[in-house]
């Protein structure tokens, strides 16, 4: 459980944020310069708020009214930086020992061998940070933070310096940390896919203020439907069951109550529940099941509403068979010509190539 209620003013930047979260992963989401990293600094004690209170797991880290301000080293926050910040003059083992050595005596400490084992860094112990890849460094950084027995892990854009393929692995690392070690995580990110996959709760920040707090599905589904021109941030997450892998074409068939979804590559073991994220701009709509088309994925549903207005674009929200919702971005002209209105049956066409198989999640 983490409670944050802080205000800070620096020049022409004002931060005024208040939220509470008991999710395994709480994502701070927003454009750069919105105050996400400042918030991390405040929680970590690297910056001091003008006013406010920060409580992590029942411990008061800062309370301006009571004059409480714990120093960084007394806060028991594990910091995971973008570039891991391993000590370059120490090898991996010494870096890890540094974390373990200064862990508070009474804290719930994780055995080094267990952390090393689970994060798969046993073979790296005698190497120097300079001899590690970006992903390896990241794993060692997480291990080092865990060994210091933190009450919370703060991850400031931990994937930003990794390419897309490595990023997927790194996300697995965060999931593993969340699930195996049971330490709450605050994750700073500006990637919707990342947040959708990892977070239980999203704190959306813009210009130092909270815009929304809630579950990722709710937040991203309701992402400004009233303004169809801001279509690129809108998307929906669907829960499917992997059915089989077509080796001849290299496609995975995912079963969804509203239809079959095809994804490139072997993305999940048959039978596993899989969550996919469909961007509104990758969905086309048809009134009848299309006959000859390159698109294999056709999902059946009903229009809930169409947001149009005066601009060139419209955003349609469908309720798919099975109850999940899907956004589709289209031109207002198409919406009018197809006579899309609440209650109308429609077929959503999703390009398999638009689904990013590298960012699909089991679960």
């Amino acid at each position: 459980m983490i409670e944050v209620d802080v205000a800070l003013s620096r020049g022409d930047f004002d931060l005024n944020v208040s939220f509470a979260s008991s999710a395994g992963v709480t994502a701070l989401f927003g454009p750069s310069g919105s105050g996400k990293s400042t918030l991390i600094d405040l929680i970590a004690g690297l910056a001091r708020a003008d006013r406010g209170r920060i409580v992590v797991g029942g411990r008061v880290l800062a309370d301006s009214e009571k004059g409480i301000f714990l120093s960084t080293r007394k806060r028991r926050v594990g910091l995971v930086f973008q570039d891991a910040m391993l000590f370059p003059h120490l090898n991996v083992r010494q870096n890890l020992r540094f974390g373990a050595f200064f862990a508070p005596r009474g804290a719930r400490r994780l055995p080094m061998s267990e952390v090393v084992d689970k994060l798969g860094i046993g073979a790296l112990m005698d190497r120097r940070p300079i001899d590690l890849s970006g992903g390896e460094r990241q794993r060692v950084g997480v291990a080092r933070a865990l060994l210091a027995a933190p009450d919370i892990l703060l991850m400031d854009e931990p994937f930003a310096s990794l390419d897309v393929a490595r990023r997927r692995k790194a996300m697995g690392l965060v999931e593993m940390t969340r699930d195996l070690f049971g330490i709450p995580i605050v994750l700073v990110s500006h990637q919707i896919e990342e947040v959708m996959r990892l977070a239980g709760q999203v704190v959306m920040i813009e210009r130092g203020k909270i815009k929304e707090v809630g579950a990722p599905e709710a937040i991203f589904a309701s992402a400004r439907p009233e303004n169809p021109s801001e279509r690129f941030g809108v998307g929906s997450s669907l829960t499917c069951t992997a059915s089989d892998f077509d080796a001849r074409y290299g496609l995975t068939r995912l079963h969804h109550p509203s239809g079959e979804i095809f994804a490139a590559g072997s993305v999940a073991t048959p039978g596993a529940a899989t969550r996919i994220y469909v961007k509104a701009v990758d969905v086309a709509l048809a009134r009848k099941p299309p006959l000859e088309t390159s698109i294999r994925t056709v999902l059946r549903g009903k229009i809930i509403r169409v947001a149009g207005g005066e601009g060139p674009l419209a955003l349609a929200l469908l309720e798919l068979a099975g109850g999940e919702q899907l956004y589709a971005s289209l031109t207002r002209m198409a919406a009018d010509e197809l006579q899309l209105a609440p209650g109308v049956e429609a077929f959503a066409l999703v390009k398999a190539v638009a689904l990013d198989e590298r960012e699909m999640a089991a679960g």
């Binding site: 970590a44 690297l46 120093s71 960084t72 080293r73 007394k74 806060r75 028991r76 926050v77 594990g78 910091l79 930086f81 910040m85 000590f87 370059p88 003059h89 540094f98 974390g99 200064f102 862990a103 508070p104 190497r127 120097r128 940070p129 300079i130 001899d131 080092r144 933070a145 210091a148």
Partner: protein, 236 residues
């Protein structure tokens, strides 16, 4: 001229031995203070920081004779600080080799501080923050993270200070005079030889030795710094 002209006299050998002693003492005694001052200048903001910075750099810009005179008026036998140290701790600087070491340390101090400050400023403060977030108290952060990372600059600063101490002349001769075996370091011995008829060859051989010592110190520091720098292992 023959090779025996280059043979060192006992006086010259004593000057070399004295210079090394003075140089090492000056370097090692002033190093901790130089690190402290460099750290304060690199990491802290305090009122009067500019003034403090200027004061530290004074020996670099003042005529060495003036520095020597200030030392004489402060640490001389009858001077306030000098008398206090002599009466309470038995430490005497005036006309002793320790005074030569003090003069050399003061003259080399700004050079050491500059080199160390640069390397401290190059240490990524985020590494120090990472260390404190892991629970390390500030002295541990300094000793285990900051100092090792600044080590190449520390070595460079120490070598500069040592080389400066070997070459120091003006402040030393003003403060502790030119006493054979006690305060006659290599530069003072060279100066004395040039004032003596027929002393040119002796002055020249001492000069060669002084140059050799300075170059040796530089090479040693470079080798040390290379060993400390983390390098990527070449995998075959």
């Amino acid at each position: 001229m023959n090779w025996s002209d280059f043979a060192l006299t006992p006086e010259q050998i004593s000057a070399i031995e004295l210079s090394l002693r003075v140089g090492l003492a000056a370097t090692f005694c002033s190093l901790p203070f130089a690190v402290l001052v460099a750290y304060a200048l690199a990491r802290w903001n305090f009122p009067g920081k500019m003034l403090f910075d200027a004061f530290v750099h004074l020996p670099l810009v003042l005529p060495p004779v003036v520095t020597g005179l200030v030392l004489l008026l402060t640490f001389g036998r009858k001077a306030p600080v000098g008398a206090f140290l002599a009466d309470h701790f038995g430490i005497v600087f005036a006309f002793r080799w320790t005074g030569a070491a003090l003069a050399s340390a003061v003259m080399g101090f700004p050079l050491m501080v500059r080199a160390i400050r640069l390397s401290l400023e190059a240490v990524d403060p985020r590494l120090e923050r990472a260390a404190s977030s892991l629970g390390a108290p500030p002295p541990a952060v300094f000793l285990l993270v900051t100092l090792p990372l600044a080590a190449p600059g520390l070595i460079a600063g120490a070598v500069l200070g040592f080389a400066k101490a070997l070459g120091e002349f003006g402040a030393t001769i003003t403060f502790v005079s030119n006493i054979p075996g006690e305060t006659r370091t290599i530069p003072a011995a060279i100066y004395t030889l040039t004032q003596t008829p027929g002393g040119d060859m002796g002055a020249l051989s001492l000069s060669v030795i002084a140059a050799g010592l300075a170059i040796g110190a530089l090479v040693a520091s470079e080798l040390l710094a290379r060993r400390m720098r983390p390098r990527r292992k070449v995998s075959s």
